[in-house]
Symmetry: C2
């Protein structure tokens, strides 16, 4: 049985997005700094069709987090803001013709829509039945592999609050955002996690936890 | 010239104390779990007059954080709640006859009081002129050595907000507190820090930052 896991970049003051997010700037003011460490990695650039990049202490962490994934769950905003409800000529999200997932993706939404099959093994299935329904479908699709929560923060928070997350990787970036979206907001202290590892890498600290 | 630094234990959700702190329970509900890692260390137990304890990956971090200190600044609450204003027979705080500092301590308060000289080289000087006055006096007392902000959160937050902190060590403990006192609250994103190191230890991740 696979695990449900997520990874997310978080500022020193606990924000996963800065203030005033918009469709052009979904990470809010200053939020793009959260992802500089990963955009610099060759291991990220290659599957996203970009050349070059670094190999450093983040590389094995990133590779481990993205290995053995059989399905991804994401919120509607991460699939792509765009016009909604879907309309007659629904767009295909942010991800282009060949999204980097290469496995089934389940999108949490309030609006029904037919599944979308794209190139390279990625499909988008639109789930209106809530987070547990999406997880059930994702686990069935993933088989023995793991299921990732791709984001955004709201989707992750819902799975955390329901105590369904098995493993999480926090990439702590030494910036302050001052305000914005916090990852951990009003969670039950009884949600037990234990530390698995803490790894130093250039400009980021990788903290891995699993459900206790 | 010494540095101004602090270390503090913080929950995964960013709290340095749990909800409903009181005089009997200054760390709030669940907050005592934040300090289990340090209370277990022989390096902490010895200067606090306790026997036994562990030597582990936290030991050199703790020793480095407490080495080369020439003065400490703390808030009035950390000196000791107790009756205030001081009254005719003012008490000597939480720290007993021989406090573990062994150097001058400057207490931020609104109530004037004569300095207190205790055993083992610790003195308490009560500063009513604000955080910059306390820092100036502490630096003068410390000479070439560093000045620590001992706590509590409010004192640390004031020095952070004034951009006076040179170095900080966050000890991230894998618990959730759900609510309470956050270390980082409404800070200016331009306050630049850079990561110095990230160290894994039993039940805690030590993240060290310095002013960029």
């Amino acid at each position: 049985m696979g695990k449900l896991k997520f990874q997310i970049s978080v500022s020193l003051d606990g924000f996963v997005a800065g203030p005033n997010p918009s469709e052009e700037d979904p990470l809010g003011e200053g939020g793009e700094q959260l992802h500089e460490w990963v955009l610099a990695l060759a291991a990220w650039r290659k599957p996203h069709g970009r050349e070059g990049g670094e190999v450093n202490a983040s590389t094995p962490i990133f590779e481990k987090a993205t290995a053995n994934l059989g399905a991804t769950i994401m919120g509607r905003g991460m699939f792509g803001g765009g016009p909604g409800p879907w309309g007659e000529d629904p767009w295909q999200g942010w991800w282009g013709d060949e999204p980097p997932f290469h496995h089934p993706v389940f999108v949490l939404t309030h609006h029904e829509r037919e599944p979308l099959e794209l190139e390279g093994g990625t499909s988008f299935t639109f789930v209106t039945g809530g987070i547990e329904s999406a997880l059930e479908q994702a686990k069935a699709a993933a088989g023995d592999k793991d299921v990732a929560i791709g984001g955004g923060a709201e989707a992750i928070q819902q799975y955390l609050a329901a105590s369904l997350v098995d493993e999480m990787l926090l990439n702590v970036v030494p910036i302050l955002l001052g305000s914005g979206t916090r990852l951990f907001e009003g969670l039950d202290p009884d949600l037990g996690f234990e530390q698995v590892e803490a790894i130093e890498a250039p400009g980021v600290a990788h903290l891995m936890y699993r459900r206790a």
